[in-house]
Amino acid sequence: MKKILFFVGFVFLTLPLFSQVTGTVFDEDNNTLPGVNVVIKGTTTGTVTNLNGKFSINVKKGDVLVFQYIGYQKQELTIESLTKAYNVTMVPDVVNMDEVVVMGYSNKTKTEVASAVSVVNADKLLDVTTDDVGTMLQGKVSGVQVVSESGQPGSGSQIRIRGISTIKPGNEEPLYVVDGIIGGSFDPNDVQSVTVLKDAGATGMYGARANKGVIIVTTKTGTTGKTQFNFKASVGMKTADQGNLKMMNGQQFYDWSSELYRDPETHEIDKIKFYQYYPRELASQNYDWVNNGFKPAMTQQYHLSASGRNDKFGYFVSGNYFNDKGTFRNTGYEKVNIRLNTEYHFNKWVSMKNNFNVYANRGSYYDYMDMYYTYLALPWDNPYNDDGTIKYIDGNTPGKWWSRDKINPFHTIENSDHNSKGFGLDYDFVLNVNITNWLSFSSSNRLSFSTDKSHDFVSPVAAGPFHDKGYIHERQNNWWGGITSNMLKFNFDLGKNSITGLAGIEINGGSNDYMWVEGKGLPEGFDVPSVASSELKIGGTSTLEYFNSLISQVNYNYDKRYFLTASFRADQTSNFPVDHNTAYFPSVAASWLVSNETFFKDNVSFMDMLKLRASYGVTGDPDIGASRFMGLFSLSSQYNNNPAAIPYQLANYNLTWERTNEFNLGIDMSFFQRISLTLDLYNNVTNDLIVLVAQPLSQGFEHRWENAGKVTNKGIELNLNAIAVKTNSFEWNIGFNFAKNSNILSGIENPFYSTVNGVSQIYRNDASIYTFILPKWLGVDPETGAPLWEKVNADGSKEPTSKYKEATPQEVGKALPDFVGGASTSLSWKGLTLYASAAYQYGNDIYNYTNRFMDNDGHEPYINAIVPKSDWKRWERPGDIATHPSMQNAELSTENSSRYLEDGSFIKIRNISLSYTLPKKWSSAIKMRNVVVSLRADNVYTWTNYWGQDPEVTLSKGDWSMPGVSDFKYPNNHQYVFNVNFNF
């Protein structure tokens, strides 16, 4: 928008009264500042400062020049003399009302924004060393819940904006928009800012796809005249964060095992029998599998960029290399990203942008079973021979191997490989044409191509099912996508009335092809599909999706006091039946900038900004994948080498869009130029939820896609930033955010369930999404030591029972938190800054699925157990008040029940960093504009009662995962990084 304004500003005005004045703009350090917008107040006439920060403009005496630049307060200058050369010094801004907020299809100044949006700029974003933008956002934006579910290098995080508004499986992540175009790729180091659009007033422009919120990413462009270089290096160490999960050592497990021999009559441990099978020397055999499976690992990141601009041409070019070793054996991730952003102004009418982003990555991943065995192998077994070589173990290996399964995971890891390679390219072409001074045309286009290949290999040397055979599985995926948005934008400034707007059409399509091959019978030492000699299999298919949209928006403001934005979008997708494939998404947002009213300015001095906002709109969610409405037979199978068609999906030709009606009320305040406060209230109702409605299994189908019921997300969000102390050399900032969301289902005809690994969640009216329904655990019968569950009789009376099958499944908790948020603080003294941030979550429950194994009652006597919590007690004799049943009387005690459902609340110190900006004289001595060194610790500490790996548990519904259910995961990392950043 800035650029458009700038060119629109070039209006021919050469009336005799005018004469040219010149001047120079400086920043706070007295460096010249190129690229500053200079506009004559009340007109669209303007210019920008050149490479040397100089400007010249035709003015008449008495005109007021307005100087605007991102990150600086607006300056005004009244022209008193037409011959004088003016010097203007820009002052950095804390609460900059004219800061441009990137909103996707259009940009707005903060003043104009009438909806709930949050902006996070690069400096705030890059306080964590990661390749994932989600991790960077954690705890920084109110209403945004970020879960780093895995510490696997290269893995992303899960982002949920304002709760969960859809319950179908599949993509639940917000929509990403990179540089104004839906989709795209980027390296976090190239990001200028991230805007999170939270209410329909803002997301309405993305209509059908905006249900889950929108994250707008803007990459850097050249901003100043001189070519500027930035070099950044980060080198660090990380260790696995096992949370409260600690496995038993030899002695502890020996003591645990002895409980198996507690005599049911005498209630004493029958030591004669016990020692007979478990020799006493076991207690001192202490191999620490977890500590040997997870080792400290190194992470490094190097980033070099150059940028510059002049009147015609601006560019930003960067290269980034990221190398992240994993803490688990044989895992890691490497990525190279290259970006080239250019902007060229042919003349005052026409400009274009060409952006390229290219990335290549490769990662080494872990096999679930290898990690499973690393946690569960007994400390009495040692994976290494006496000579230091790695032991081969299988079912026929002589000698005792205590662990349940006859396998040495370290040997398997040594002799297998799971990796992937990816490559991707995005090319953006944007053409802007200023047709008249009020009308412009813009065409934004992107071509995307990405390919990735995964490789899973097990050597014939490895023990296990592929012994003597070997195994290879490779999968290749290709994505081609294209999008074009073409729109007309208008801009009328009629004194106090200002109207802007746009209308256009967007076409989006993509196809995905994949194929896989699998084979066995590999000669030792070879790991490509060509050498496989037996059980060769292939598979693959391709999918196609189209998406067409009409987009429009009108913005009106009166005297910078009253603002109104209305948008209307129509979307059509191939994912729904032809009769139901189009939907309309209107939205409207209004705001009142009270602080621009005269009465306010005259009477209120402590408050420098007050804005009231309201918005209402409709958004949708088409992410259900193709062809969900059709009755289908799957052909990806065979019988006796003949094609076979298997009943796959029940038809529903009435299937249509999920639509969310979003209502938002907000208030923005700023006091003493020091404290800023944003408060939002929202009520989002998603109708026609797309639900996989459970069918009686006797239909031959588990479920059918239907529109059923609705979900209401209500919430409050608070964002507070304050400069607590500010002197010339010392500054103390604090930030805090809080979001409470409640989630209620309604309009569901019959309650339905989702079950993974026997753990069930119920979907019923008046309950939250992801409500656990499980037999309720009542502890241990003090007389018998047997487990107790609750049985609810037909008349509603309750009684304890020791028979699992009599236990009544009840609602016992929910996976969604009551509130989430974060806090941060920074202390700066001269060049030194100490920064710390925290994230918190409260009120969610986690089903600790792995403790069914690690905290069993003798059901799995040969897998290692978790070190118990201090208040756990196993029943020994009648009268004991215990938490754990007698091993002699524990029938079905580890079956799914609320026994393993735990409070998942946590507070986490996300990071602490200490950075030092070298004094100017030192940095200029080495020809640097600016040098910053910093030391940073990420994921420092977590407070939680949850007894397992760290409490960041998945929120996605996947093949093996259920929201709020923890399984063995790649642990997150504690990370300690040293960074140095040179600007020159």
Binding site: F346, A645, F853, M887
Partner: protein
């Protein structure tokens, strides 16, 4: 650039945009076929029929993912034989297969839920074909089409019968006219919710379907597919369960007299199962090709056999079965029990239980995890007939049939001339049936339908809570409640899956 040119280019871009928006909106998947288009080709109904066979062996997505453990036939064999006295449990496990040993079933257990689900998925496939052939009018009724139609009737009968065995009282147990049987789904557009038919009604449906199948199938597609003889064999077995002796004999006769099948002789019986497809013993099997090798995590063999790496090898031939066979070590059926020895010549144990691996599901193409499980074979027809004769009191004919089997199993020297003392004629027939059909998913039902208790007075982890030192190899276990399960114990039945009851409140749960 002049304004006019700019405007022209803008218009041009819009035209481009609009023309390219004439997108094709009905995007069909590339690896799936819509139900509507199935009837448009003859291949459509053949492919769906093949799909029903494929469901016997496929690991089908269930509860959101594909679990290697879950395949119809794996559950078919495990849920029956692990509950019988033929197989002993060598290790406690969290795999629900363990509940078959301990009789601690729950409506939530995934193996049983999967079995129920896939059974009905098969039925749904058959109903689609039956509906298209009989009602769409688009398919000409050639002999080939009738064969396909007949196969679908057969497959529906087979699925219904298998469901009845696991989830309903056998017809000789309880009151078949009032006891709940299964939910009968016989058309392509069934109401979502439906109650269970009675046991009698359910068996009537099985018989009607199997008879229809027998009449339609006249151009066999090979032993990998259902045939007229397979339908007769099914009818013989169903009538045996109903104790309709005359019909049991009649349909066994039909198969035997067809001349297509001969009992595998003793010389080649030890290699019969890995090569069942090529044998005249086989009436119908489910073909597994190399690409169907389910490996350690999903094969039928992996639980009961391991070459050290190929499987879990946790369940073994029971002491009870071995005792019955101990009299005749020359019996070639011992070849399917593979003893694992230590270097000192004693039998290796796992958790205190001696390892006698079972190899009836191994060694097709030499692979320890690959086999094409036999669903019907000629020897069973002799044994069905023998049992019917025995129940009719015809000792000569019953023993003749039993001897027909023994002649081909290396026991030519030990043929029966009369019923040995201390045994009844039925004992003799059932003992032979037990040895011949061991591990083939029959034993548990043979016991229950003949009102015989399941007696497992041997060491194994069906006894809850025992530890290795509890096992005394020299003395049988005593005093544990799990050692005898009465034939009429309700825990013999599996529960109707919780998912069914929740979504179909007309369906009643088992006790």
């Amino acid at each position: 650039m002049k304004t006019k040119n700019i405007l022209q280019s803008v218009v041009l871009l819009f035209v481009l945009a609009v023309t390219s928006s004439c997108t094709k909106w009905d995007v069909a998947p590339r690896d799936q076929i819509s139900t509507e288009s199935l009837s448009e080709t003859k291949d459509g109904i053949i492919n769906v029929t093949n799909g029903v066979y494929a469901l016997f062996k496929n690991q089908v997505e269930f509860s959101g993912f594909i679990d290697d453990n879950n395949a119809y036939l794996r559950q078919y064999f495990q849920m029956s034989d692990f509950a019988s006295d033929d197989i002993v449990c060598g290790q406690v496990t969290t795999d629900p297969l363990y509940y078959s040993f301990t009789y601690t079933h729950s409506p939530d257990q995934s193996n049983s839920r999967f079995f129920w689900y896939v059974s009905y998925k098969m039925i749904s496939g058959t109903n689609t074909v039956i509906d298209i052939v009989e009602n769409s009018g688009k398919i000409e009724r050639t002999p080939e089409v009738n064969q396909i139609l007949g196969e679908n009737y057969f497959l529906r009968a087979f699925s219904e019968f298998s469901l009845l065995k696991f989830y309903a009282n056998l017809p000789t147990v309880g009151n078949p006219d009032s006891d709940p049987g299964i939910i009968l789904r016989t058309t392509a557009n069934e109401p979502t919710k439906k109650a269970r038919a009675t046991v009698t009604e359910s068996y009537n449906q099985v018989i009607a379907d199997a008879k229809m199948a027998a009449s339609l199938m006249n151009t066999s597609r090979g032993k990998e597919f259902a045939s007229k003889a397979a339908a007769w064999a099914l009818l013989s077995r169903v009538y045996l369960y109903l104790e309709d002796n005359a019909n049991t004999i009649a349909y066994a006769d039909s198969v035997i007299n067809s001349g297509e099948f001969t009992i595998e002789p003793a010389s080649s019986f030890p290699t019969y199962f890995p090569n069942a497809i090529a044998s005249d013993e086989t009436i119908f099997l489910i073909a597994y090709t190399q690409q169907d090798n389910r490996g350690k995590f999903g094969s039928i063999a992996s639980m009961i056999y391991s070459d050290g790496n190929s499987g879990w090898g946790e369940e073994f031939a029971s002491e009870s079965l071995r005792k019955v066979m101990a009299e005749h070590l020359e019996d070639v059926r011992w070849k399917y029990i593979d003893t694992l020895y230590k270097d000192d010549g004693t039998v290796m144990t796992k958790n205190g239980i001696p390892i006698f691996y079972i190899t009836k599901f191994s060694f097709q193409d030499g692979d320890p995890n690959l086999s094409s499980p036999v669903m019907f074979r000629i020897s069973e027809m002799y044994l069905n007939r023998a049992e019917a004769y025995a129940k009719m009191g015809d000792e000569a004919k019953a023993l003749a049939d039993v001897n027909e089997i023994r002649k081909n199993r290396g026991l030519e020297g030990s043929l029966y001339t009369s019923v040995p003392s201390g045994k009844t004629l039925l004992d003799v027939v059932l003992e032979e049936r037990r040895i011949e059909l061991a591990f083939e998913g029959q034993r548990i039902f043979d016991l229950v339908r003949n009102h015989r208790d399941i007696i497992r007075k041997y060491w194994g982890y069906h006894i809850k809570g025992i530890q290795v030192p509890d096992i005394d190899p020299n003395n049988p276990p005593t005093g544990y409640p799990e050692l005898v399960i009465p034939w009429n114990d309700p825990s013999v039945l599996y529960y109707i899956p919780a998912d069914e009851i929740l979504a179909n409140d007309l369906c009643v749960q088992n006790p």
